[in-house]
Symmetry: C2
Amino acid sequence: MNEEKYISKSVIRRMSLYYRYLDTLLEKQIYSVTSETMASQTKLTASQIRQDLSTFGRFGRVGSGYDVKELQDRLADILGMNQGYTAAVIGLGHLGSMLVYSFPFEKYGIRVTELYDIDPKLVGTKIADLPVYSIEELPRQWNECPVDIAVLACPKSAAADIVPLLTDAKVKGIWNFTNANLHEKDGGPTVENIHLFDSLFTLCCQMNCRDL
Amino acid sequence: MNEEKYISKSVIRRMSLYYRYLDTLLEKQIYSVTSETMASQTKLTASQIRQDLSTFGRFGRVGSGYDVKELQDRLADILGMNQGYTAAVIGLGHLGSMLVYSFPFEKYGIRVTELYDIDPKLVGTKIADLPVYSIEELPRQWNECPVDIAVLACPKSAAADIVPLLTDAKVKGIWNFTNANLHEKDGGPTVENIHLFDSLFTLCCQMNCRDL
């Protein structure tokens, strides 16, 4: 499936949006949808949607639209949900704990296998049935049993020390919640930064501009 | 300051990135920085940075670079940190609670004044010293004392009922953490969606493409 090899981030974001939209249809037990309906709900154009989806195979029939289940299954493939990826959450403060307890990793095919922190009160315990290791144990642990995704929820100040450990341990991806700006390096892990700060101030700056 | 009226989202994101980068300099007690140093740390070009910043006034001197404190103050202005915005967190599950307890709203000039939930065990109590109201009380509450930003951390299924309340109450901005896709409407609040799902699967899809 080499056609998947060069998907731009903006196409990926739309695929993800389509997936979420199809979820809402399935919740309402709607099993067929046209590109026109998808367009009106996602604020994209029907031709944009058809073009995006046609890149990944033939879906839908003229007149009757897309089979919601079939299309969602294919999107799950493209988004990597069926790869059996494993993940570890690093940093068990408010943010890390929130992710462990409430983010539906499992529903989307990602298995969280372990947690890391530096707090001696947490290390050696279990949280949500998952073992908590000291960050110092990570190299040995991942040498025996590698993990695909590091969910980085530690303080920014700790990120500089932890990222080299992750890179040495050949993690495939870092989902970075710290304020630190992580950049991808050749041969290093894929990085996705999620900066709550940037998001909030994109909102405030736009509000501010409207007020002027 | 009408020049601020039409800032694109990509420029805002860069302003926000500059602000965060300057924070790291101040932590290290560095008070002067050149566009070249900023460029090497942010993976942008020095000319891009100079161009972005020149839009908002004259900063820096040839040779000696930018005054970190002065530049950060100006960025705070542009990003809306000095507007005295107030916020309410709606939905006090794991995500909403995490934001209340650990997101540094105050540090960035935003004052959280109140919280909303539907759980009768929470309504009427205080969390982190903030009063928790029932969502039904919101119209009356905001009629007396409007709030600028609604931080939407409720389940997706509740968003459809809550968003009209917010719009009627003339909220200026919605920071949307639900899986629901909220769109801006003419005259309605500014919306910033933060979809953890999209972010995680942008990562997984890229990892998947590299593996192929």
